[in-house]
Symmetry: C2
Subunit: 196 residues, 2 copies
DNA sequence: AGTTCTAGATACGTCAGCGTATCTTATTGA
DNA sequence: TCAATAAGATACGCTGACGTATCTAGAACT
């Protein structure tokens, strides 16, 4: 911090959480260290220990931080199918976040520290139910009469997100346009559209 | 090994791989160490180094070992639906294997060592296409006229396994009977049965 | 200006895990 | 029986990361 103004309070904490998140995305939870986060944040370890005495505490806080800040515009193409494809494409582009999130989940599972699961699990599962913006484009499609709301059970509603997430986790690569089209056209839409 | 007969050659290697696999299941790849495996196998580290100089080599070999040995009888209930439910139930019961497998995949992703992916990915993806025995019960169902083979695209065929796997990875818990029934009855069967 | 708080830097000690070297000894094959 | 091989045991040194203590100095408040 030679020559730089020292950060304090909320500003510092925000910078620490952002650095922690970026470290998670870069190295995963397995290799997530106080050293690494401190270096990334341009601070010293005791500064971090003061706030988060355990590594898992810091990781969980970083996830929460990410959740609060990861917002984006959802699509509005005029067609449910195209909205959904665009949405899935967007989620796919953010796969690094999913992988990082998931690495924390796995860390919690194997560590059995009981410090990670609980609310992280809840947060994870909440995010899993719907990709961001899904409810909005579903509502539009219902109003346009494109899909049958009676067919939209929780599990079917979760289907596009689930399949995309699965694909991302299995391949660790962006999901191809072809795969997205299959998920939407061959599986999801046949189950929820009225034309059947 | 005080008082025990020393293992040699293939016997020793088998025991090492079994210990390595069990260590993977117990602690995941993140905490997978030569020390841990050596202790579990009742041997010393140099014995392991001689065969697998890198930790990732040992993990990959353990996965291969597991794949060769993890076989089970597949169900034959007389009905495709019930066969499939039983199969998914079986896979769910073996979720620890999936989690261990996946922890190696994630390790490979973040380490970018280039030593893990390649064939491990291929093996992982191959297993992901079909749970064991899926082809057999599908063939029976086709012969019984229960499903329409024309509808069985690769992605739809992969659907039950994908959704089950996703569920397992998201919750880290056995998949409930209710969830299995939803996957089969509400999603998969409507897509592949002739009655629609 | 003086005081308080704490950010940032650094040092120290500990430990787990690795990699390597060395030695003893059991097993197998000639 | 002897020789070769390598399993098993142990010791040593190194590194990364952690946890803690201490100190300096910047920022905010009075």
């Amino acid at each position: 911090m030679a020559g730089e103004t020292r950060r304090r309070g909320a500003d510092l904490e925000e910078a620490l959480l952002e650095a922690a998140w970026q470290e998670l995305v870069a190295v995963g939870y397995a290799r997530f260290t106080f050293e690494g986060v401190a270096a990334r944040a341009g601070t010293s370890r005791p500064v971090i220990y003061r706030r988060w005495p355990q590594r898992s505490d810091l990781a969980v806080a970083a996830v929460r931080h990410f959740s609060r800040s990861d917002l984006f515009e959802w699509p509005d193409t005029g067609s449910f199918r195209d909205d959904l494809v665009a949405l899935l494409r967007e989620v796919s582009a953010r796969r690094l976040s999913l992988v990082a999130l998931f690495s924390v989940q796995m860390g919690g599972f194997f560590e059995e520290t009981g410090t990670t699961p609980g609310e992280l699990r809840d947060q994870f599962l909440a995010e899993r139910k719907r990709p961001f913006g899904f409810d909005v484009i579903v509502q539009r499609a219902i109003e346009r009469g494109e899909i049958d709301p009676e067919r939209l059970t929780p599990r079917i509603a979760a289907l596009p997100g689930d399949l995309l997430r699965h694909e991302l986790l299995m391949t660790m690569k962006p999901v191809s346009e072809e795969a997205i089209a299959e998920i939407v056209d061959d599986i999801f839409l046949p189950l929820v559209t009225k034309s059947r």
